[in-house]
Amino acid sequence: MSKTSRTIVTMPATAKKGEILEIRIIVQHDMESGFRHTETGQRIPRDIIRDFRCTYNGVEVFRVELHPAMGANPLIVFTTTATESGTLEFKWSGDNGYASSTTSTLTVT
């Protein structure tokens, strides 16, 4: 399993001050639960994303803990309030040193 993977973030590029933004993030990951077995009966070790954080100009605005029951390619939809122009950073981390991150810029008018 790769240590990093593809991510897709869907959010508006501009917003009015005080507006509530919907942010949709999807990340490519098998989310191997650790409860499955191979055809020969060997247990497939757990390999999942454990943590997702979103920071808005360095301030954490949203955080998720992920567990084995999450499906593959987890999609997370959340909202935040547009306060100032700047950068939103999205970070995923998980088993076997998995880490992905991406950023989006937001212009607040």
Partner: protein, 357 residues
């Protein structure tokens, strides 16, 4: 005095006996009626079930019916035993008679009542529909929006692999085919087809042929991520285009065997593809709508799989479902079935990569 009292007593006894007998008769009548009612109710229910249960063929249904009739009657006996009454032997006898009679009646009914499951023809032309229309709004939205569709990751992986140099000849797909958005337009819609050597190939088979012959690289394993990624990328170039598989003198034989396989009963459940996906498409199986089985969206991201998978994987799923030993990946049978399905869905629009529940 004593005599008259004796007579009185015996009279009383007689009357009581008479009453008891009458009671017995009434009760046994009542029981018979109840028994009859139970059985007729059961029969009605069974008839209804038979009419609904369209997955089984008539002969099987008749066999089942006879077996379940036995169950019905034993249930009737249990009901009788729950209410103990005098004159048990009489009741048991009448019950046995009743059992025989009702068995005979049910058997005759089973033979003569028109239990035909309505058998519809395979939808053709404009009656055909992609299983997309049967999906929930959420799943539709997932397929429609590439930013939500998890198969987008496979397409993007395929795009990278398209450019990747592989094999002893140091060639990438792009070395020969160039820009996939131009060269691969409509290509996926024309598969499965025969290659120059007369070998039937589906898209993944063609990709692997390129890998071994043009790139001198090891072929990708069936259902491996890179193979699914490239096929998703190539199939995506034909999105919105009609399937162009036609009956030709070259593919006629393979198409005919595909059609035969589609209509052939298989597995312990003894069902053919056609019985569900042609004759009963649009009805429900275990609460889920039965699609017409048009392969318009492959490779698909199936939520049940939590991954992208090929049509072959889906076909093998169905074969396991009817308790048949699934044909091997890349087997002639699967290829012929794929060819028949593609021909059956000819002119329908490709929507790869699809999302399916």
């Amino acid at each position: 005095m004593s005599r008259s009292s004796q007579t009185l007593q015996s009279n009383e006894k007689l009357q009581r006996n008479e009453m008891l007998q009458r009671n017995e008769m009434l009760q046994s009548n009542e029981m018979l009626q109840r028994n009859e009612m139970l059985q007729s109710n059961e029969m009605l229910q069974r008839n209804e079930m038979l009419q609904r249960n369209e997955m089984l063929q008539r002969n099987e249904m008749l066999q089942r019916n006879v077996i379940s009739q036995g169950n019905v009657i034993s249930q009737g006996n249990v009901t009788l035993r729950d209410n103990p009454r005098p004159g048990g032997s009489q009741t048991v006898l009448s019950c046995l008679l009743q059992k025989r009679l009702s068995l005979a009646i049910l058997f005759l009914l089973a033979i003569f009542l028109p239990f035909h499951a309505p058998s519809h023809a395979d939808p053709v032309g404009a009656e055909r529909q992609s299983s997309y229309v049967l999906m929930s709004p959420d799943t539709k939205a997932m397929q429609d929006d590439p930013l939500l569709n998890p198969a987008t990751f496979a397409v993007l992986d395929g795009q990278v692999l398209w450019q990747e140099i592989a094999g002893k000849k140091n060639q990438s797909c792009a070395s020969c085919h160039g820009d996939a958005t131009v060269s691969m337009k409509g290509v996926a819609a024309s598969f499965p087809k025969l290659n120059a050597a007369g070998q039937l190939l589906n898209l993944t088979g063609r990709i692997n042929q390129c890998r071994t012959e043009q790139q001198s690289a090891t072929p990708f394993a069936f259902e491996s991520k890179p193979l699914l990624a490239i096929s998703a990328f190539v199939a995506n170039q034909s999105k919105g285009m009609p399937i162009t598989v036609e009956r030709t003198p070259a593919n006629e034989a393979a198409l005919a065997s595909g059609q035969r396989l589609f209509n052939q009963r298989m597995g312990q459940l003894n069902l053919s593809c056609a019985q569900c996906h042609a004759e009963r498409a649009g009805q429900k199986l275990a609460g889920n709508p039965i699609p017409q089985a048009h392969p318009t969206a492959y490779p698909i991201y199936r939520l049940e799989w939590q991954a992208v998978g090929s049509l072959e994987r889906r076909l093998r799923n169905c074969l396991v479902g009817v308790r048949a030993e699934p044909f091997a990946f890349g087997s002639t049978e699967l290829l012929e079935l794929e060819l028949f399905l593609a021909w059956r869905a000819r002119a329908m629009l490709l929507e790869s990569p699809g999302v399916r529940p």
